[in-house]
Amino acid sequence: MKPVATPATADEPAALVADALRVGDLSAGDLCIAPGRILALSGPSGSGKSRLLRALADLDPHEGTVALGDMRQGAVPGHRWRQAVMMVPADSQWWADTVGEHFPDGAPDGLDTLGFDTATMDWQVSRLSSGERQRLALLRAVAHQPRALLLDEPTANLDAEATARVEAWLGDLIARHHWPVLWVAHDPAQIRRVADQHLRIAGKRLEDVPCS
């Protein structure tokens, strides 16, 4: 029998690395997010933040290579890559009638932390507020067991108190699972609170902003 290489387990920490990444006009260059680190990305609206996230999730054609640990973006089917490198869009979409139908394994962990309970699973999606949708979209993404997160303004529709709760909950999860995270944010105070590193889109390039 041939020796079989042990496959990397789903929980093995892996860095998210991009080389010579180019999306449309934006040259993102080389990016490296170590396991458990949060890279904040800011820039004026329309500068290409979401497009950069979409390229990392392989939703748009792009130049350059991206890898999560040993897994190269082009070497696995698109759906497997996106299941590992999970993007959470700013405006989440819901296709079924009730909240629970969108979760793969029933009520997820963390419901109560974000202000819900198991009865939330029976709620009608059409009656969710934008803040509820945003928090539930984060819960839904995490319930799909990703290995890296791409968050597009994850607290845009939340008040200060809910924002603090989401930041604490995400920070804890990211540290526990060692996920590399790209977090698009506008608020400098939030970036100071959550990020290990901060990149800003300036024209057609990314520039490093020192974290103070």
Partner: protein, 267 residues
């Protein structure tokens, strides 16, 4: 019973009634009189021409000529499928997918019906083959056109939703599944409805024609049932194949949604 001959002056009486209708629309300022007359004229010219073609074809009854006629009918139907779509696939894919799925379904069902069920001698006898194919293509064309139009329109509207499903790691078939099932159902509903209404609400055209031509109603009914079944099968499979192929074309090899492969409306 002999079919009563129609003289040209008798048709002229019918034409006079159409002229009277056009006159009324003119008085009522409907601005549709010209379109009506042009359409009426087209009916006369097109049907007369096809009459000549069919008479020639029936007298020759050679397979190559019948195949040529069938090919022309198929291409015209393919063109019609494109014309009925608001956002069609670019690069010839709309025509290609529409025509190929009509070929696969309408042609194979027609040939199967001719050889196995009706069995004229030879099997391509144009009096059977051409009207049968014409009815098949006409209905399959409608089913495919509706199915493709519904698919591309739904995917266009639900772009954010489908991409969010992709972001969660769903396969493209799952992410587009709702739109695809909806499009398939829409393409098949008209023919299912006409089967359900046959004989109650409407007397199907072919059966009416056969009865007018002197066939016993019981035989006309049997032919009509057979035609309904074959049309349904052809339309159903044609719609399934077309929607499957088109939905595949909307995603690339990385399972990305590629709306850049759809033309803008009106182009």
């Amino acid at each position: 019973m002999q079919l009563i001959d129609l003289a040209w002056w008798q048709l002229a009486l019918g034409a006079a009634l159409v002229l009277a209708l056009a006159g009324c629309t003119l008085v009522a300022k409907l601005a549709i009189g010209q379109t009506l007359l042009v359409a009426a004229l087209r009916t006369v010219v097109q049907l007369s021409l096809i009459g000549l073609v069919l008479e020639a074809l029936f007298s020759v009854a050679a397979l190559p000529w019948i195949a040529l006629m069938a090919g022309v009918m198929l291409l015209m139907a393919g063109r019609e499928v494109i014309a009925r779509q608001k956002r069609r696939l670019t690069g010839g894919w709309a025509f290609g997918i529409g025509t190929l799925s009509m070929f696969v379904s309408a042609f194979s069902v027609t040939v199967l019906t001719l050889i196995v069920i009706i069995g004229p001698e030879p099997w391509y006898t144009p009096q059977y083959a051409i009207p049968l194919l014409g009815m098949m293509l006409g209905n399959t064309m409608t089913g495919i056109a509706i199915g493709l139009d519904r698919l591309t329109d739904a995917v266009w509207r639900q772009r954010a939703l489908i991409e969010n499903r992709l972001m969660l790691g769903q396969r493209w078939q799952v992410a587009v599944g709702d739109a695809r099932r909806d499009a398939m159902r829409s393409g098949m509903i008209p023919i299912i409805n006409s089967m359900a209404a046959a004989g109650i609400v409407s007397l199907p055209g072919m059966m009416t024609g056969q009865i007018l031509a002197g066939a016993p109603p019981s035989l006309a009914v049997k032919y009509q049932i057979l035609i309904m079944f074959t049309i349904t099968v052809g339309t159903g499979f044609g719609t399934l194949v077309a929607v499957l192929a088109a939905s595949r074309r909307l995603f690339d090899e990385r399972e990305r949604l590629r709306l850049d492969r759809l033309a803008k409306p009106g182009h």
